[in-house]
């Protein structure tokens, strides 16, 4: 796919997210919207994977550590062929494979079960260690974490371990959207200087615009090229990206319908913005 095609795909995934969340009437909006470009890049360009063979033993692994953002992963999986797009509307419903937070056992293609924060990087480290024991040198573990999630001590335990064992087969991506449930990250629990912290922990740190497709793809390529250290990409994203009234507003992190999840009126408005590129073009179905 060209960069333009990837960007169009990301817009499609954002529309899916809005529809899913409106339908489910609960969940988290801002994070998945902000991550749409990263997940599109991963599923449609970066990852070595086969939607028809989710247990292919040469695949790259992708872990979503901040499991509450899973709508973006479900939408990316459906759009890349893991399952029918129609199934997206079962999100959070009884009997659905698309649990409110991802469960490996429920849906082939998910590498782990997450939601409780801070555990993805450790699992990635275990996987990366096993790959090394197995002498699998051409597989990578990608792990996406939230920034609020970095409040968890478990993350830093894993950061030390990955550097100790030089797990250069890990590429960790932090969704640096500056919001968490109780407010701005720097107010709830300051994280800065984030880059310096990870550098001090022994990681190769790359700062990028996490809503810029080219930068995402380039940073991951750089991460694969770095052999001296594990790589951490600080992806600066706009929470709620693509919908004006959601962008930057931590109230959209998660909550009850209409507060953190779009109600019908808000969903129509959000979809209009996405379909018209914020009014720049006429929407296809409007």
């Amino acid at each position: 796919m060209t960069i333009t095609e990837l960007e169009q795909q990301a817009t499609q995934i954002r529309q899916d997210i809005i529809k899913m969340l409106e339908h489910a009437k609960s969940g988290h909006s801002a994070g998945p919207m902000g991550l749409a470009d990263i997940f599109t890049a991963l599923y449609f360009d970066i990852l070595k994977h086969d939607p028809n063979k989710p247990d292919w033993d040469e695949r790259d692994l992708l872990l979503l550590s901040n499991g509450h953002c899973v709508p973006v992963q479900y939408a990316s999986m459906a759009r890349s062929g893991y399952f029918d797009v129609k199934e997206l509307m079962t999100l959070r419903q009884f009997g659905s494979r698309l649990q409110g937070h991802p469960e490996r056992i429920k849906l082939p293609g998910l590498e782990t079960t997450s939601g409780p924060l801070g555990c993805g990087l450790s699992q990635a480290a275990g996987m990366a260690l096993a790959m090394r024991m197995n002498q699998q040198l051409h597989r990578w573990v990608y792990v996406v974490m939230g920034d609020g999630e970095l409040n968890e001590g478990n993350v830093w335990e894993a950061a030390m371990l990955a550097a100790k064992y030089n797990l250069n087969n890990i590429i960790a991506i932090i969704d640096r959207n500056n919001i968490q449930i109780d407010g701005p990250t720097e107010k709830v629990m300051p994280l800065e200087d984030l880059s310096a912290k990870w550098d001090a922990f022994g990681w190769h740190v790359i700062d990028i615009d996490g809503n810029n497709m080219e930068q995402i793809i380039d940073a991951c390529a750089m991460g694969r090229a770095i052999v001296e250290k594990p790589t951490l990409i600080i992806a600066h994203t706009v929470p709620g990206k693509g919908v004006d009234f959601m962008e930057y507003d931590y109230h959209w992190h998660g909550g009850a319908p209409g507060v953190g999840v779009p109600d019908h009126k808000q969903a129509v408005k959000a979809l209009h913005e996405l379909r018209t590129l914020k009014g720049k073009i006429r929407g296809e179905h409007e």
């Binding site: 469960e103 409780p116 275990g126 024991m133």
Partner: protein
């Protein structure tokens, strides 16, 4: 000779060697590692103390030292298991599963990754370290988790067998180990299977169900009670979950009286599991012996068992009270 299943007559002379139960784990892990190269191990800065050192020295490339980081310990274990490895991850029970319970719940049990969580220094036998390190709540914490197997071996030989058995078992587990040496009273021939309870002594007047180190004390008590013509049946429960309800019910239905003994809190522990079973199947008063909703303290294991009422003498006294 009424020590069935146990296959020893050593109780006649009471001469047993002693060895720490954790040592048996160490030997078992080494053997499992030799049998299967997918067996790996991780430890949180207690490699010698949890008897993982033999494995670590033999297989340095299959051993991961995570440092003092128990949350990382089990989640790294989950990642290793995801790749087909068979990880044993060890620390002290107070820290694992004590500190990292949620990680065990989510990334191992709910995630169905076969990780074997090994907690040493469980119970009062931890001795001088005191209450912080004497883990008494681990059985309660682990047995409530779906998919989890919970095992408390009676001695070092059984710990060795349990470890080898777990290495080819297909569900996650918690293996409870003891620090100070205890009597080695089972033998190579004593049967052990995950999920099975064993009658170690047949009797007709009362059933004592015991787990871990307390099985030995129950057997000693039973031996002494025999001198007063009291016939005690001792059921050893090395696997607390899944519970071998058939063996337990068969014994209890025969004697109609039951005591449970464990080196841990009486709340939500092994005795509680027996209460739950009997409440469902065959309601009967259950006399639970264990630590009575208190924390431990520093002291020798003998002092502590005396103070908390878990010696053979205390068990015999309880039998007299009930009969």
């Amino acid at each position: 000779m009424n020590n069935i299943n146990l296959i020893t007559d050593n109780f006649l002379n009471h001469k047993f060697d002693t060895e720490a139960i954790k040592k048996g784990f160490g030997k078992g892990l080494l053997a499992a590692g030799q049998q299967n190269d997918q067996v790996v191990a991780a430890c949180a800065d207690l490699t010698g103390s949890t008897a993982m050192n033999m494995f670590a020295e033999e297989f340095p490339d299959r051993f991961v030292e995570v440092g003092v980081a128990e949350q990382n310990l089990v989640t790294v274990g989950s990642g290793l298991a995801a790749m087909g490895k068979i990880p044993f991850v060890s620390s002290y029970a107070a820290f694992s599963p004590g500190r990292n319970w949620e990680q065990i719940r989510t990334t191992i049990c709910l995630n169905e990754q076969v990780v074997h969580v090994v907690g040493s220094h469980a119970g009062l036998y931890t001795g001088a370290d005191g209450a912080t390190h004497q883990m008494l709540e681990d059985i309660a914490l682990t047995r409530v988790l779906p998919n989890m197997v919970v095992i408390a071996p009676a001695d070092s030989i059984q710990a060795q067998k349990a470890t080898i058995a777990l290495a080819s078992h297909d569900s996650p587990s918690y293996l409870r180990l003891t620090r100070e040496p205890t009597a080695v009273f089972t033998t190579d021939k004593t049967p052990f299977e995950i999920g099975k309870a064993y009658v170690y002594r047949e009797g007709t007047d009362i059933t004592i169900i015991a787990t871990g180190t307390m099985t030995y004390n129950a057997l000693v008590a039973a031996e002494n009670l025999a001198k007063d013509n009291i016939s005690v049946e001792v059921v050893h429960l090395p696997t607390i979950k899944p519970l071998d309800s058939e063996t337990v019910l068969r014994s209890v239905r025969k004697t109609k009286k039951v005591i449970t003994v464990e080196e841990g809190q009486i709340s939500a522990g092994m005795g509680s599991a027996i209460c739950e079973l009997l409440a469902d199947e065959d309601p009967l008063p259950v006399h639970r012996m264990g630590v009575q909703d208190k924390f431990g303290q520093s002291g020798s294991p003998d002092d502590l068992l005396e103070h908390y009422g878990l010696t053979p003498k205390h068990i015999a006294l309880k039998v007299h009270q009930i009969l």
